[in-house]
């Protein structure tokens, strides 16, 4: 494990962590979601379904999980409260989940370049392949010893895929964004495929989003939830 991989991962995370500062035109996100995960060569995987409420300005996220078991995850900044049947079952310190989420990236309108420009990546070679425009993004000069390039593919100015490499040009992970819909002028992918290339094989994560609502003005009890008693 080289030090470069930390920096590489860190820059990935920064794509989500340092979105546009301050208030935004788009600040609330609600959606049904499903997440499927499978590791190559293994029979069992993971399925999670539910819905999510995220308020970018309040830094609050609610996950109403339906499967595998009904429960509610309330996240505010770096605290997560886990409730089952309206009873608080645990509280723990977590990374700022909302800030890391794809929902924040969508609301911050950083999906077109995956937030790379914001963290100092610069566009390199661009090529056309059919309808796809594939752009190479190069890491900041001072981090070139630690960071690899990123390839972004887009069609009709929408990000369709991203590939992340380490400094040895080896593929680390890929993302595919499909089934875009327009909500309040925001282009939102309905399906996101994440593939991680591990020594032990591929790890696949498929996230589906549907029934998306942007800037919902009701259901404040979710977007601005009160901290659970005893929390």
């Amino acid at each position: 494990m080289s030090f470069s991989k930390y920096f590489f991962g860190w820059i990935l995370v920064c794509c989500w962590v340092f979105p546009a500062q301050g208030q935004s035109d788009f600040y609330r996100f609600k959606s049904d979601f499903s997440i499927k995960e499978k590791e190559s060569g293994k029979d069992q995987g993971r399925l999670i379904t539910g819905n999510i409420y995220y308020d970018k300005n309040l830094h609050k996220t609610v996950y109403n999980i339906r499967f595998p078991e009904p429960e509610q995850w309330l996240v505010r900044d770096t605290f997560m409260y886990r409730k089952k049947a309206d009873t608080l079952v645990s509280k723990q310190v977590v990374p700022p989940v909302g800030e890391f989420s794809i929902f924040n990236m969508i609301l911050s309108q950083q999906l077109t370049d995956f937030g790379l420009a914001k963290v100092g990546y610069t566009p390199g070679d661009v090529q056309q392949d059919g309808n796809q425009v594939i752009a190479q993004w190069l890491p900041p000069e001072q981090f070139k010893a630690y960071l690899g390039p990123v390839s972004l593919a887009s069609e009709q100015k929408r990000l369709t895929a991203a590939a992340f490499y380490d400094t040895e040009q080896k593929l680390v992970s890929k993302f595919y964004f499909q089934d875009y819909t327009m909500e309040n002028g925001l282009a939102i992918p309905g399906k996101i495929y994440q593939i991680y290339y591990r020594e032990s094989g591929e790890f696949i994560r498929i996230m589906a989003l549907k029934n998306i609502i942007i800037n919902q003005t009701d259901e404040d009890q979710y977007y601005d939830f009160e901290l659970p008693a005893g929390g």
């Binding site: 494990m1 080289s2 030090f3 991989k5 930390y6 590489f8 991962g9 860190w10 990935l12 995370v13 962590v17 997440i35 499927k36 995960e37 499978k38 069992q44 995987g45 993971r46 399925l47 999670i48 379904t49 996950y63 999980i65 499967f67 595998p68 078991e69 009904p70 990374p95 700022p96 989940v97 890391f100 989420s101 090529q127 392949d129 796809q132 594939i134 390839s151 593919a153 895929a161 590939a163 992340f164 490499y165 380490d166 040895e168 040009q169 593929l171 680390v172 890929k174 595919y176 499909q178 495929y193 593939i195 991680y196 290339y197 591990r198 020594e199 032990s200 696949i204 498929i206 996230m207």
Partner: protein
């Protein structure tokens, strides 16, 4: 300093697990057909459709003896799946990244990581991370100490 501190905090919190296996970059790396990944998850998709139509939970499906319930991993650690921002979690000591063990507990943390993880790939990965964490922690504290001494000596 604030920016550095924020960066370090992020580094400690997330500690992404990016791995060295992979293939070389080609001109167009986006030639995959996601259908093949959907096919890998066929049973999970069937399960999703079933739960959507019936509203049944995993424990209810297991109690009913539904074979689709067998396709789901046991355990309730959903956190990494939900945030979806970093590589999936692999074997870790108490679920805490090796970097944090090394950073917070120095050599003792690194030693514990090496002792406790069985999987050789995970042991190598987490062990390396714990040593990096140990080095980062040492550098940070030494740096802070020097900065403190220097700043106090000029007052």
């Amino acid at each position: 300093m604030k920016k550095l501190f924020r960066s370090l905090i992020l580094l400690f919190l997330i500690t992404p697990t990016l791995l060295s296996a992979g293939t070389r970059a080609s001109n167009n790396p986006f030639t995959d057909n996601p259908i093949c990944w959907e096919q890998e998850c066929t049973e999970l998709s069937q399960l999703e459709a079933l739960t959507e139509s019936t509203g049944l939970s995993l424990s209810q499906l297991q109690a009913a003896g539904n074979p689709l319930a067998e396709s789901v991993l046991a355990g309730d650690n959903l956190f990494n799946s939900l945030i979806g921002a970093t590589a999936p979690e692999e074997e870790r000591l108490m679920g805490i990244p090796g970097f944090l063990w090394g950073f917070c507990c120095s050599f003792v943390g690194a030693f514990l990581v090496y002792l406790s993880i069985d999987d050789p790939v995970a042991k190598k990965r987490e062990g390396s991370q714990s040593i990096i964490g140990c080095a980062a922690g040492t550098i940070l504290w030494v740096g802070l100490y020097i900065w403190l001494v220097v700043s106090l000596s000029f007052q």
